[in-house]
Amino acid sequence: MIALSQGDRAAFRPVFSALWPLLCRFSLHALGEAALAEDAAQTALTKLFLHASEFDPGRDAIAWALGFASFEVLSLRKRKWRRERFDLTLLAAQPDGGGTPEDMAIERDLRAAADEALGVLRQQDIETLEAVLEGRRPEGPRSGATFRKRVQRAIERVRLAWRNKHGID
């Protein structure tokens, strides 16, 4: 490292061969993820070679190299921590392809309000509405008109309950 810092190009390969595996191992041990560790080791090595000419011969070369790697490891950890906690786009990305957190909150409130309104309905009305939502139709010659009537009545009751609770349709 001393020879390299003085400009001796022949010392490059030995330094590279010694430091690259060392920085990789150190970063892997510190980060636990191979891809992240390689990123950290590469960035550390880049900074090390960029500042190689400034190396103080009185210092320990390994400690100097690990200093660069430690900084990169800490930076990556902090960046990862920030991304996990504050990245809204990451938070918004739902496994089922849902919307933004705002959409999710609105939907949650609407579901709670709907549950509240449906809670006052009779069991028969709930079953009728569930059948409509699931696309089921009762079979039989007169069942069509009866079912339509039941649906109409169930909707009327939901509307009434909603209006009583929230004051609007």
Binding site: L4, S5, Q6, G7, D8, F12, R13, F16, W20, Q42, L45, T46, F49, L50, H51, A52, S53, E54
Partner: protein
């Protein structure tokens, strides 16, 4: 070695060279003010551009190549400073009259400062392991810097400087060689 690792090594080598360039750029902190001084003491731009440019490139290149040559460049600058300034000081002082005969002291001052530069550079070079390359590098820098000053006395001044450098260096180098052998 895997190809990705070879690529990485190649990239790191380029980055190392970039770092060396940045390191060598520090020489400009020394050279550029000297060029301003040369301009300030009235050296013509037609001389300053080629000689100053060559001096800058040489010092920068030496610092880029190796720390040993960077030291040589610094030694050359230190040794060449009297040659830059002394002829100018003598020119301001005017003609010197000794025993009823008057003469321009610029030419003798170039010989003198050349000998000083040659001696200093040679004394510094013999301490180095690769003293010949060190001497040559330092001498080139000192000669370029001295040329800026000794050109006050024209071409003869520059020739005087070079003669002085040779006269100053030779005894030191020959003695060192004899000791080594």
């Amino acid at each position: 070695m895997a190809s990705t690792e070879e690529d990485l090594e190649r990239r790191m080598r380029a980055i190392f060279e970039l770092g060396r360039l940045a390191w060598a750029a520090r020489m400009l902190v020394v050279i550029v003010p000297l060029l301003f001084v040369a301009r300030w003491i009235g050296r013509p731009a037609s001389l300053l551009w080629p000689v100053g440019g060559a001096l800058t490139l040489l010092a920068f290149g030496l610092a880029f190549v190796h720390l040993r040559y960077q030291r040589a460049a610094v030694a050359g600058i230190a040794a060449g400073l009297p040659a830059l300034l002394l002829p100018w000081i003598f020119r301001i002082a005017g003609e010197v009259c000794v025993g009823g005969k008057c003469f321009d002291p610029c030419l003798p001052s170039c010989l003198l400062t050349g000998a000083i530069a040659g001696g200093l550079v040679a004394m510094r070079a013999v301490k180095e392991e690769r003293h010949w390359s060190f001497w040559l590098a330092a001498l080139a820098v000192a000669a370029l810097l001295g040329t800026l000053g000794c050109s006050v006395a024209g071409g003869a001044g520059v020739l005087g400087l070079l003669g002085g450098v040779a006269a100053g260096s030779a005894p030191v180098l020959v003695r060192a060689e004899l000791r080594r052998s």
